[in-house]
């Protein structure tokens, strides 16, 4: 994250010529400091012409969905403890990123989430039970991606970056002004597919926003093992892609920066890269033991930057959020969680024979043969039960 000694040595001859001619890199580089519109306590910072503050209604809705999102997240963690979910990757602490991102795009846009984005998907309005199907384990993708314009949550890291480029190009090719929003983590930026995806998007000027949630860890591996760059946003210039870094725990800044990035893409200027500096408060998944690789002090420091409190403080100070509203939203969250709990407590039934239905549009003779065998096995099993 720091520059090499030699780099400093090189600085002088550089600056000597820095003026002439204009540096083509400059407009593509991120601000040296992450964009921040609220300070840690939620007090507004000087307004910025390049990142106007979103309308208050949007900020209130952002707050509401963040509260519901967090409640969803804690409920999902609880369901895991009760054995209702095989595993759950929490995004607690990343609420500003998860929710602002989906508010920055339209329903007609496409979202490319990872396993980390369950909160983002419910914030986008997808049925939470359908979102959790993957983790409950009755099937892989529980929602209809075409219907909700959201790709299945992607586990093979960074592969979705290329899909987003293709989808965005395909939509533009067919005359639609769809923007693709691709989520990716800090660790996954080390994968070749991140490089290939953003490069395809840049070369074809495809309307994609690459949104890196830099939560400082890839499971146990710290950012310093992923990159020696000043910051991940500095990768944009190498593709000719303008980039920005933002305080990922400042909900107002995240929404402002992503809104601009989406507008940039929709206007036909090609992809945009946004890096949000944030932190995952929970372990990688419930199966992970975070105490093995990070200490409590670090986690506590980030607790003070809680994005939900931060936004709440700001909205209250602006007088657009009062106790009544907060209580009402909290109640909505409880109802949402209760409903989810009830529905997740129903044991889903899945027909084993459906395993053969979607491998191909029509099963091959080989699959039909295997399906008949399984059908016979199931019948035999039923008979035995009958006997017993």
């Amino acid at each position: 994250m720091t520059t090499t000694p030699q780099a400093v040595r090189r600085a002088s001859p550089r600056t000597r010529r820095a003026a002439t001619p204009p540096d083509p890199a400059r407009p593509l580089l991120p601000d040296v400091e992450p964009v921040r519109l609220l300070d840690q306590s939620g007090t507004p910072l000087p307004a910025r012409t390049d990142y106007p503050e979103p309308p208050v209604e949007a900020l209130r809705e952002l707050y509401r969905r963040m509260v519901l999102g967090r409640r969803f997240d804690t409920q999902a963690t609880a369901l895991t403890k009760q054995g209702r979910l095989a595993v759950y990757p929490s995004s607690r602490g990343q609420e500003a990123c998860q929710v602002a991102a989906v508010l920055a795009v339209r329903d007609t846009d496409w979202v490319f989430p990872t396993y980390r984005e369950s909160m983002a998907l419910v914030a986008r309005g997808i049925d939470p039970v359908e979102v959790l199907t993957l983790l409950r384990g009755d099937w892989h993708c529980g929602y209809d991606p075409a219907a909700v314009r959201t790709a299945p949550q992607c586990t093979p890291l960074a592969t979705q970056c290329v899909h987003a480029a293709g989808l965005a190009h395909g939509e533009a090719y067919q005359g639609r002004d769809t923007v693709a929003l691709a989520f990716i983590g800090d660790g996954a930026t080390s994968e070749g597919d991140f490089h290939e995806g953003i490069n395809f998007a840049a070369v074809f000027k495809a309307p994609v926003v690459y949104f890196v949630q830099n939560n400082r860890y890839a499971i146990s591996v710290p950012l310093s093992r992923q990159t020696a760059a000043p910051s991940l946003a500095y990768k944009g210039v190498g593709y000719g892609v303008p980039s920005e870094q933002v305080d990922g725990n400042d909900p107002v800044a995240v929404l402002a920066v992503l809104t601009r990035a989406v507008a940039h893409a929709r206007a036909g200027n090609g992809p945009f890269l946004v890096e949000a500096h944030t932190y995952r408060m929970e372990p990688h998944t419930n199966a992970d033991d975070a105490t093995r690789y990070r200490d409590g002090a670090e986690v506590d420091a980030w607790r003070d930057r809680d994005p939900v409190t931060r936004l709440e403080t700001y909205l209250r100070a602006r007088g657009v959020l009062d106790d009544a509203a907060v209580a009402d939203i909290a109640e909505q969250a409880e109802t949402y969680a209760a409903d989810l709990r009830t529905r997740m407590n129903e044991q889903p039934t899945v027909d084993p024979l459906s395993l053969f239905d979607h491998v191909y549009a029509e099963p091959t003779p080989q699959l039909i043969e295997q399906r008949e065998q399984v059908r016979a096995e199931l019948a035999a099993a039923r008979d035995e039960e009958g006997d017993a």
Binding site: W110, W139, H140, C141, D144, P145, A146, A147, A151, P152, P156, T159, C161, V162, H163, A164, A165, G166, L167, A168, H169, G170, E171, Y173, Q174, A180, G192, D193, H195, E196, G197, N199, F200, V203, S354, D357, H358, V359, Y360, A361, T364, P365, Q366
Partner: protein
């Protein structure tokens, strides 16, 4: 009228582009150059830069981009420049192209055609002559097709582009410029159908892609030795045609499977296993395999030693226990050596 397989493939792509607005063709050097084998020659000029175009040089990118385009409703046909250069795309192929329909209960499909010029016999340097069909055939969700005739090249490629599922379309390089009489557009047997290329009574040679001409040549040569051999062209590895092949072997009672890929855990092993499972009581001899050696593809000057040729096929046929003597090569000692 005499046409080459290369021309038939080129015509199939042109006809598909003309027939369906959603078809797009892309890859490395497929645009202005028309592909290093000229399979896409003239397509960009005729259909424009939006329908046939070059991409950045990245195979995972090409296949992943195709996945995204397919999600948007298009029907991408991508070219991998050579067999071994599809390996960078393996994750995209195995984890996305093959699985997307199943993962989404059919809500999303990926009607992509991945064209792979494959196999050797062209004096190519390393990494340009791999036979990689088994990697795809072992991956559920993919269809794997490989033409051995000019008419099939056209017909199977058109069908692949029309197919609702992803198809890995393996093109035998050494047959690109072999020409035959074929009236295009031709429509031959559909996916899932093997074809008897030469009827025979004494034994069945099962082959696909580049091995089919070898099998036919061997069958010709075998006549002098008094054997009347049947030759079956598999054509579509997935889905596989058990019926045609089983029927043939039950008739002849003997079978040799021929493939150019290294033998170990190749498609030929699957065919041999299936045939003996289904034809056990009809077999007078074990199902034998003639395959490439279990070595990396050799340099040009040695490839003829590697490739299954007519002599090696005839040696196998000769070992089909016409005199009911067990094959000495496979005494336990021998294989333990």
């Amino acid at each position: 009228m005499a046409t080459t397989m290369a021309k038939a493939l080129n015509t199939a792509l042109a006809d598909a582009l003309a027939a369906d607005e959603r078809v797009v063709v892309f890859g490395e050097d497929v645009g202005q150059l028309g592909g290093v084998f000229r399979i896409t020659d003239g397509l960009q000029a005729r259909f424009g830069e939006n329908r046939c175009f070059d991409t950045p040089l990245a195979e995972a990118g090409i296949v992943g981009f195709a996945v995204g385009l397919a999600m948007s409703g298009l029907r991408p046909v991508v070219e991998m420049q050579f067999d071994a250069f599809a390996y960078p795309a393996f994750e995209q192929i195995a984890s996305h192209v093959a699985k997307l329909r199943n993962r989404t209960r059919g809500a999303l499909s990926v009607p992509i055609v991945i064209r792979v010029p494959y196999a050797g016999g062209i004096g190519g340097v390393e990494h340009h002559c791999d036979s990689s069909e088994a990697y795809y055939a072992h991956t559920p969700g993919l269809k794997v097709v490989t033409p051995a005739t000019v008419a099939d090249a056209y017909s199977l490629l058109r069908e692949a582009i029309e197919d609702p599922d992803p198809v890995v379309f393996m093109e035998p390089k050494k047959l690109y410029f072999a020409s035959a009489d074929a009236e295009l557009p031709a429509r031959t047997e559909p996916f899932g159908r093997a074809v008897v290329r030469r009827p025979g009574r004494d034994a069945t040679l099962v082959a696909y892609g580049p091995a089919v001409p070898v099998a036919l040549e061997a069958a010709e040569a075998a006549r002098e030795e008094g054997w009347d051999l049947e030759v079956v062209d598999v054509r579509t590895i997935v889905p596989f045609d058990d019926a045609t092949i089983t029927a043939s072997v039950r008739r002849t009672g003997r079978c040799v499977v021929i493939q150019e890929a290294p033998g170990f855990a190749g498609v030929g092993a699957e065919i041999a296993a299936r045939v003996q499972e289904r034809c056990f009581h009809a077999l007078h001899a074990p199902v034998l395999r003639v395959a490439g050696l279990d070595i990396p593809y050799p340099a040009p000057m040695l490839e003829h030693t590697h490739l299954p040729g007519v002599d090696r096929v005839l040696d196998a046929v000769a070992r089909l226990q016409w005199d009911d003597q067990p094959d000495p090569r496979w005494s336990v000692q021998g294989s333990a050596a």
